[in-house]
């Protein structure tokens, strides 16, 4: 059916399977990014610790399922609970007291959490040890009909879950009362207060939701990458890049951004193999290109008081 292209590694099969893998990881970046954008839109804070929160929750899943032998589902549940709890604690005790202080302060706080969580995870579970990932779906692959590409069930599951969650989040914002309140707080907390919106509660909820998404992203991504505290914490860079593509406000664009990022990051692997760090370079270039292309636009994403 398809002849291999003459360009060395650039066979159609290769391109397609790397692209498929890229879409899968891209969805995970998008998931983490969606949580990030969600938190940013509602509370105005860019959570640099997003990756760290997801990482910590995932390690809790690891602890429950792998170390203590509980079923995988319980492990994932643990991750979700821990994620929500972390989100609550961070917002309630270290962000809310900073109301009115400059952005720099809030950013540094999230950086502090990044460092703290990464360190704690390193202490408890070890920085370089091998950790087995918690799997909900088997790794087995199946052939796409008609093309010489194998796609894993787990990759498919990731894509489906991400799309469902992204749509769910958008629907939440659009059609529910809570969503309405969140949008009110995002636009103008003071006006929201006048209309009876409990700003504190809504902000808390947004942080918890965003953190749960980080946890889900963490659990889903670990089968595909190095399961160490540092590797998972760095995911925040990819999440930030995807969020930038969405201009820090648009959820659909963030989703697209994440997928694009995953694909762009994966493609250089075809000619270059797994040259160390080439994916970092790809992410970096994407960030630069997006920012330069956006250069003229006023930074409307920054919340005005």
């Amino acid at each position: 059916m398809h002849e291999a292209l003459a360009l060395g590694n650039f066979t159609v099969g290769n391109i397609l399977s790397y692209t498929a893998a890229g879409i899968a990881t891209g969805c995970l970046y998008a998931l983490a990014a969606l949580g990030l954008v969600f938190i940013f839109r509602v509370s105005g804070v860019l959570n640099f610790g997003q990756g760290a929160v997801g990482m910590f929750a995932t390690f809790c899943a690891y602890q429950v399922s792998i170390q203590w032998g509980a079923p995988a589902v319980l492990g994932v549940l643990a991750a979700l609970v821990v994620g929500a709890a972390l989100g609550y604690v961070i917002e309630r005790f270290t962000i809310r007291p900073l109301e009115g202080k400059p952005t720099v302060a809030k950013v540094i706080v999230t950086v502090g959490w990044l460092l703290a969580l990464q360190q704690v995870a390193g202490i408890i579970w070890g920085n370089n040890a091998y950790h087995q990932a918690v799997r909900l779906v088997s790794k087995a692959g199946f052939n796409l009909p008609g093309i010489d590409v194998v796609i894993g069930y787990d990759q498919l599951a990731v894509i489906i879950i991400t799309v469902v969650l992204a749509l769910g989040l958008a629907a939440l914002l659009r059609y529910t009362t809570i969503g309405l309140q969140m949008r009110a707080v995002a636009d103008s907390p003071s006006t929201g207060k006048l209309w009876g919106v409990r700003v504190n509660r809504i902000t808390s909820l947004s942080w918890m939701t965003g953190s749960v998404m980080a946890a889900i992203a963490g659990v889903l991504i670990t089968p595909f990458i190095n399961f160490t505290p540092t590797a998972l914490t760095i995911i925040v860079i990819h999440a930030l890049a995807a969020a930038l593509i969405g201009n820090l406000v648009s959820l659909p664009l963030t989703l697209v951004g994440g997928i694009v990022l995953g694909v762009v990051e994966n493609l250089p692997r075809i000619p270059f193999g797994s040259v160390g760090g080439i994916d970092s370079a790809a992410v970096f270039i994407v960030i630069l290109v997006v920012l330069l292309a956006r250069a003229k636009r006023l930074a409307s994403a920054v919340r005005t008081v």
């Binding site: 860019l46 270290t94 900073l98 400059p102 952005t103 706080v109 959490w113 360190q119 820090l248």
Partner: protein, 346 residues
């Protein structure tokens, strides 16, 4: 009496009251504690890095999470030039500083169009890409000599005096560089450039409407900050007697850590650079040897302290000390900043 006090406190001369004894201590400390010489030298090197943040974040209000990257570039350039191109460190160091400054300006270019958050993202991305890719990949071998990295960057001589294998002399060299940098930054702050940068921080729109070219001054801040970090790196290149430079001290975690320490001690204030350097090097020693805390816990305590500090004392250690000093001595004359009035949390 009160007026006289506020003259004293308000004038720059107050700084000399602290600076001269501190300098004297610095000069004397080296010979007094031979075992500590290398660690103390590290204090100056770290202090330079914190100083670079004082200029960029403290004065100009720009967030940077890649200072260790500038330091690393300085170290590699200096190390490379000395070890493999036969240049003296006296020549290599300025080149390294210039290279770091150039990278700083390049990183600052996105800053022109971006608000603080997006800029922070760019700097973090820079830190990660250098950490994961540039400092390790064969593509940049000409700079880093990866994977063996740089070895054999000998210390220079000055007027016939050797610095190689002379920890005390190297100590004084680092001290001299640090003091020079502190003086330069102080002069900059008191003069036109300092005012302009601080204006940028307080209100960009008012700055541009009053004639300030935002582009020029933001790039200046980045270049100056990166240059200072590069100087720190140039010193690091010859820190080890064997003159080896490897990427591990320059990873993104270090950038984050130094930003954390800078904020902790008070990134708005020049003296914080000194405290920051001390903290960076000795907190670990203090914790492990004196308080017997496990090595792994030290960065955690630091991070937790950072979070607590931002919430409780946003101006950092030095800022809090300064406030206490003012309120004790000036008997309530200067007003304590009301909470939330744009406290110097960063």
């Amino acid at each position: 009496m009160r007026r006289g006090m506020s003259l004293l406190l308000g004038s720059p001369r107050a700084v000399w009251l602290l600076a001269i004894p501190a300098l004297a201590v610095g000069i004397v400390l080296g010979p007094l504690f031979p075992q500590q010489q290398l660690t103390l030298t590290d204090v100056f090197i770290a202090g330079l890095l914190v100083l670079s943040l004082v200029v960029l974040t403290g004065f100009t209000g720009q967030i940077s999470l890649c200072q260790a990257t500038f330091q690393g570039l300085g170290a590699f350039v200096a190390g490379n030039l000395v070890a493999y191109h036969g240049l003296s460190w006296w020549v290599a160091a300025p080149v390294a500083i210039a290279a770091a400054a150039l990278l700083g300006v390049l990183v600052g270019l996105p800053a022109l169009r971006l608000r603080g958050l997006q800029l922070a993202i760019v700097t973090l991305a820079v830190a990660v890409v250098f950490d994961n890719y540039v400092f390790y990949t064969p593509h940049f071998r000409w700079l880093t000599h990866a994977p063996e990295f740089v070895a054999g960057a000998r210390r220079p001589t000055l007027l016939g005096l050797e610095f190689q294998n002379r920890p005390l002399r190297f100590y004084y060299l680092a001290l001299a560089v640090f003091v020079l940098a502190l003086l330069v930054v102080r002069n900059v702050r008191r003069g036109k450039t300092g005012r302009v940068l601080r204006a940028l921080r307080d209100s960009e729109v008012a700055s541009s409407v009053n004639g300030l070219d935002l582009t020029r001054y933001k790039l200046l801040a980045f270049g100056l900050s990166a240059a200072i970090a590069g100087a720190s790196g140039a010193l690091l290149a010859i820190r080890f007697d064997a003159g080896s430079v490897s990427p591990s001290p320059f990873d993104f975690v270090h950038s984050l850590n130094i930003t954390a320490i800078a904020v902790l001690v008070g990134v708005n204030f020049i003296p914080a650079a000194v405290i920051g350097g001390i903290l960076d090097r000795y907190f670990q020693v203090l914790a492990t040897d004196v308080l017997h805390i496990a090595f792994d816990w030290v960065p955690l305590i630091l991070a937790a302290a950072l979070i607590a500090q931002i919430v409780l004392a946003p101006e950092g250690l030095w800022g809090a000390l300064r406030h206490t000093y003012y309120s004790l001595l000036a008997r309530g004359a200067p007003k304590i900043l009301p909470a939330g009035s744009g406290a110097e949390g960063g």
